[in-house]
């Protein structure tokens, strides 16, 4: 397929941030994913932020039912989906009024004119047509397009009913957006062919709508020029686009292969973790067994059962389900069996904001079990990083015979980014040995320990090593039930030391920027991109700012204390009310300033920049004080 070429002027820009917003049923998520993939294939760096309501079919036309997809694509390396929008596509009034604030002055607003009528105004609870507001013309470039009408015309030859025909209008919008940003139609045409292979008339109609959208851009007088974003200078290699949950699933399978284990995944559906199940269950031919349990308690317990049997066992959920797993996790810890527990965090408390992102389960992950039950806790920093974190979690789990918790979040899980395609030969093997026994071997010590304080992983079926494990406190070595006070103290210390010692074996915390200075920004999890971008921007503006992003939260790398003490001000930025800050202050006795947000939304770079600038100025003020 020869790519279409515009005959209008093309203006080259370094990056574009677009948001596509419409009703939940308008297919905005599909449009967004297609634009993302197409842009990645064009060699741009991309970052995405899908944002949708928790209801599957939220009341049509209402503000609550608006579904949005934001993507930034750029010719330079980017780490966030962008703060303010260069362009906003809205399919109805509700989408317009809920998103317009994020459009930058002078930005392009493309509206589906046909979606703006009295009925829709009522549903969106607006008095009059928001497109008629006087200020609009002065502030934005508005392009009204009768998308529904034009789509119907474009697909008329296929004789589809109006309802079906109207469903093609997201492809019309897509075509127009592709024209505006000089994108090739080819990847989406391939997608349409594959997706609707069994419904050729629908495939043809969607293709016609896509092409009509492109042609509209080319012919309408509303657009004098289109925009072009050149390929980014990524490191040489073969790339693909990957979503967080997908990367996590693939990382788990990779870990199972390099450790020569079959993967067992026990879970109960919950947003935003379910996609890991949907992904893993496709890969039974990789030896993956998925078990959709009756609840999260059964999910974690089945995982422990599989771990006892010698499998690589994993369970995942989100906050409410992790709360249910608490007792099971404590058992996994005291049994000293390896497994992975994943929390894809969402807005809390309780059912909270299921489809929104937040980092408010850090303390739950660290301490959310009865008794003293420390677990290693890791957090991926981006969608692609989920792959590496999954492998690392399994490595630590088997090395220490302990359940390892991964804290992902909704932003990472649903977000996507281009990544260099991993290779199996690039992953270090994980060596696991199960002790052998014979009928007459010496009494087996199921709680004997190696240099990492890990106990042997003897599995049922091994002659001579029959033993019983359980949740009652056990005597070190023999594993027999023990109520001895000194033994309980010893075991509690031992289990804590086992986790703490991991700090000796993980990499030292790296930082971007100088090792000492005015301000250190500390972050963890999905806020990496925004914090990294904000710190770099401030540094470029002459501030003395560095950034440390933690992937290991328990234990933390051994040089954290020293790092914190090397800066005049420490900012801890997180999407909660200060949980990492609490841990850092308690552990290192360093004052930390919280930058916190609990709105179910990621940080914008702008809000972080202003927080950094404020502390940078304060740090300078402090030193002037000291000097005088």
């Amino acid at each position: 397929m020869a790519s279409l070429k515009t005959s209008k002027d093309v203006q080259s820009v370094s990056g574009i941030t677009v948001r596509l917003a419409g009703d939940s049923g308008d297919g905005m998520q599909l449009l967004g994913t297609q634009l993302t993939n197409t842009s990645a294939l064009a060699g741009n760096d991309v970052a995405t932020f899908p944002d949708f309501p928790a209801e599957i079919r939220a009341p049509r036309g209402t503000r609550a039912g608006v579904s949005g997809f934001q993507v930034q694509f750029a010719s330079e390396e980017i780490f966030t989906p962008g703060d303010t929008l260069d362009a906003l596509v809205v399919m109805n009034p509700a989408a317009m009024v809920t998103n317009l604030d994020d459009l930058r002055h002078g930005g392009i607003l493309i509206a589906n004119e046909d979606g703006f009528n009295e009925k829709e105004f009522k549903l969106a609870k607006v008095e009059s047509n928001p497109l008629d507001a006087n200020v609009l013309e002065e502030t934005y470039r508005i392009i009204k397009v009768p998308m529904t009408k034009l789509t119907r015309e474009a697909v008329s030859e296929f004789g589809l009913g109006t309802k079906v025909a109207d469903r093609c209008k997201n492809f019309f919008a897509m075509g127009l957006v592709y024209w505006l940003f000089g994108r090739s139609l080819d990847p989406t045409l391939r997608f349409i062919q594959a997706k609707f292979s069994k419904k050729p008339d629908i495939a043809a109609a969607n293709e016609a709508a896509l092409r009509a959208g492109w042609a509209f851009g080319e012919t309408t007088e509303a657009f004098g020029e289109s925009y072009q974003v050149e390929a980014a200078e990524l490191k040489p290699g073969t790339y693909r686009n990957i979503m967080g949950n997908q990367a996590l699933a693939w990382g788990l399978i990779a870990a199972s292969k390099v450790s020569n284990k079959d993967l067992f995944y026990g879970t109960y559906p919950i947003t935003p973790a379910s996609d890991i199940l949907h992904e893993l269950t496709k890969y039974k031919h990789f030896g993956v067994k998925t078990f959709q349990a009756e609840d999260e308690i059964a999910a974690v317990c089945s995982t422990i059962g599989a771990a006892f049997g010698g499998s690589m066992a994993v369970t995942a959920s989100s906050g409410p389900g992790i709360a249910l797993k608490a007792e099971g996790m404590g058992l996994g810890m005291i049994l000293e069996l390896p497994m992975i527990i994943i929390n894809v965090q969402r807005g809390g408390p309780s059912t909270g904001l299921p489809t929104k992102t937040e980092q408010s389960d850090l303390l739950q992950g660290m301490y959310g079990r009865n008794g003293e039950a420390p677990l290693p806790v890791l957090a991926p920093r981006s969608p692609a990083d989920c792959f590496d974190i999954a492998v690392e979690a399994w490595r630590l789990a088997v090395e220490c015979m302990v359940p390892v918790m991964i804290l992902s979040d909704g932003y990472i899980a649903n977000g996507s980014e281009p990544c260099k395609i991993p290779t199996m030969s690039g992953i270090n093997p994980i060596n696991i040995s199960h002790p052998e026994g014979t009928e007459d071997s010496a009494p087996f010590m199921p709680y004997g320990r190696n240099e990492h304080l890990a106990r042997p992983w003897a599995i049922p079926g091994t002659p001579g090593l029959m033993h019983r494990v359980g949740g009652l406190e056990k005597e070190d070595g023999s594993g027999n039930v023990s109520y001895d006070p000194a033994n309980h103290q010893h075991m509690t210390n031992m289990r804590a030391a086992k986790v703490a010692k991991i700090a000796d074996r993980i990499p030292k915390q790296d930082i971007s920027g100088p090792a000492t200075g005015d301000v250190l920004v500390v972050s963890w999890g999905g806020t990496y991109g925004a914090c990294h971008t904000a710190a770099s921007r401030c540094r470029a503006d002459g501030h003395s700012v560095s950034h440390a992003h933690l992937r290991y939260l328990n234990p933390m790398p051994s040089n954290i204390g020293e790092l914190l003490r090397s800066f005049k001000k420490v900012i801890v930025a997180e999407l909660n009310s200060g949980q990492l800050r609490l841990l850092l202050r308690a552990e290192y006795l360093v004052d930390c300033i919280g930058v916190n947000k609990v709105q179910g939304k990621p940080f914008t770079v702008t809000e972080l920049v202003s927080a950094i600038e404020q502390q940078s100025d304060a740090a300078k003020g402090d030193s002037r004080l000291k000097a005088s």
Partner: protein, 336 residues
């Protein structure tokens, strides 16, 4: 071919001291289990006991096999993870009436309806033993316990009815004191392919002594218990009384007064659980209570077989998965 060593009951005893109260019915169940396992000729190291929490759930500590004393009510869920990943193991779940029917009701139902190939032994003493004597879901109405000083107002639940409602493929009941029957019933449960439930009437002589004496005591048993046998009529009271199906309910008749073929003939293999359910609902004192195998339906696929079959089928159809190929599937691009 090597022959398996012949094991004795003592070979199945662990080195741990048994800590149930003297006279507790749990001892008898432990003794029968140790007696039956060698008869099955299954390797010890491939045998696993998983329990929840309760007096009864201490059981795994006393068996020289693999074992896990887990958390309250969840033993079937642990067993699910173990059995699906290690189908060659023989997995027993040991549970109590509180463990299986209160906190663990959910897992109990789901393990049974999935027909996971495990054996669940439910020690029913109609009381919470370990927590010192509160009423349980099987305690009778009006029962005075520590937590029901004016008598229990809960309607009791029958584990057999619950299991049948979940269409469990093997459902049986036995009695701690009826040792021969108990041993035979455990053996049958072990040889059933699919989920088996054995409810055992177990005397808690400390907190609920004699609650099931009508069935446990040899003298009373004949009048109050029907020993089920496949293909045989339901008779009790030394053959003087029998059970007849009239319309949709069961009634007691004097065997001398009705023709022999009027009596209900037990069919444990009937795929339809309706009559098994009627039997499960026979309860003292209005009716004698059935013991033995109520239901044993073979040939239903087990969950563990099916989950493994899907892996095998997928591997056969697609070939063993190639991760490098997966990683580079779909749209990719190369930066020079």
């Amino acid at each position: 071919m090597s022959t398996l060593p012949v094991l004795k009951p003592a070979d199945f005893a662990s080195d741990q001291d048994v800590r149930w109260c003297p006279g507790c019915g749990d001892y008898s169940i432990l003794a029968q289990m140790k007696k039956v396992l060698p008869e099955l000729g299954f390797p010890r190291e491939k045998t696993v006991f998983i329990s929840g929490i309760g007096c009864s759930s201490r059981f795994p500590y006393y068996m020289n096999t693999y074992g896990m004393h887990s958390i309250h009510g969840r033993a079937p869920a642990f067993a699910t993870g173990l059995k699906t990943t290690r189908p060659e193991l023989m997995v027993w779940v040991i549970t109590g009436d509180g463990d299986a029917l209160s906190i663990g009701g959910n897992h109990f139902i789901h393990a049974l309806r999935r027909n996971l190939d495990i054996n669940i032994v439910l020690f029913n003493n109609r009381i919470y033993g370990l927590t010192k004597g509160q009423y349980s879901p099987t305690s009778v109405e009006g029962q005075v316990t520590k937590s029901t000083p004016m008598g229990s107002i809960d309607h009791p639940l029958s584990p057999l009815s619950v299991a049948l409602a979940a269409e469990a493929t093997f459902v049986a009941r036995s009695i701690d004191a009826h040792v021969k029957h108990l041993g035979e019933t455990l053996k049958r449960a072990a040889s059933h392919k699919g989920a088996s439930l054995v409810e055992v009437y177990q005397n808690c002589n400390v907190f609920n002594d004699g609650a099931m004496a009508y069935a446990q005591e040899r003298k009373q048993r004949a009048d109050n218990v029907v020993e089920l046998e496949h293909g045989k009529p339901l008779v009790f009271a030394n053959g003087t009384k029998g059970i007849r199906l009239v319309g949709t309910h069961l009634e007691i008749v004097n065997t001398s007064e009705v023709p022999a073929d009027d009596l209900l003939i037990h069919d444990e293999k009937d795929p339809n659980p309706s009559i098994h359910m009627m039997m499960a609902r026979m309860s003292y004192p209005a009716m004698p209570e059935p013991i033995g195998v109520l239901r044993a339906v073979e040939g239903i696929p087990t969950y563990d077989d099916q989950i493994n079959d899907q892996v095998a089928t997928a591997t056969e159809a697609k070939g063993a998965g190639d991760l490098d190929a997966l990683f580079s599937s779909g749209d990719t691009w190369t930066v020079e």
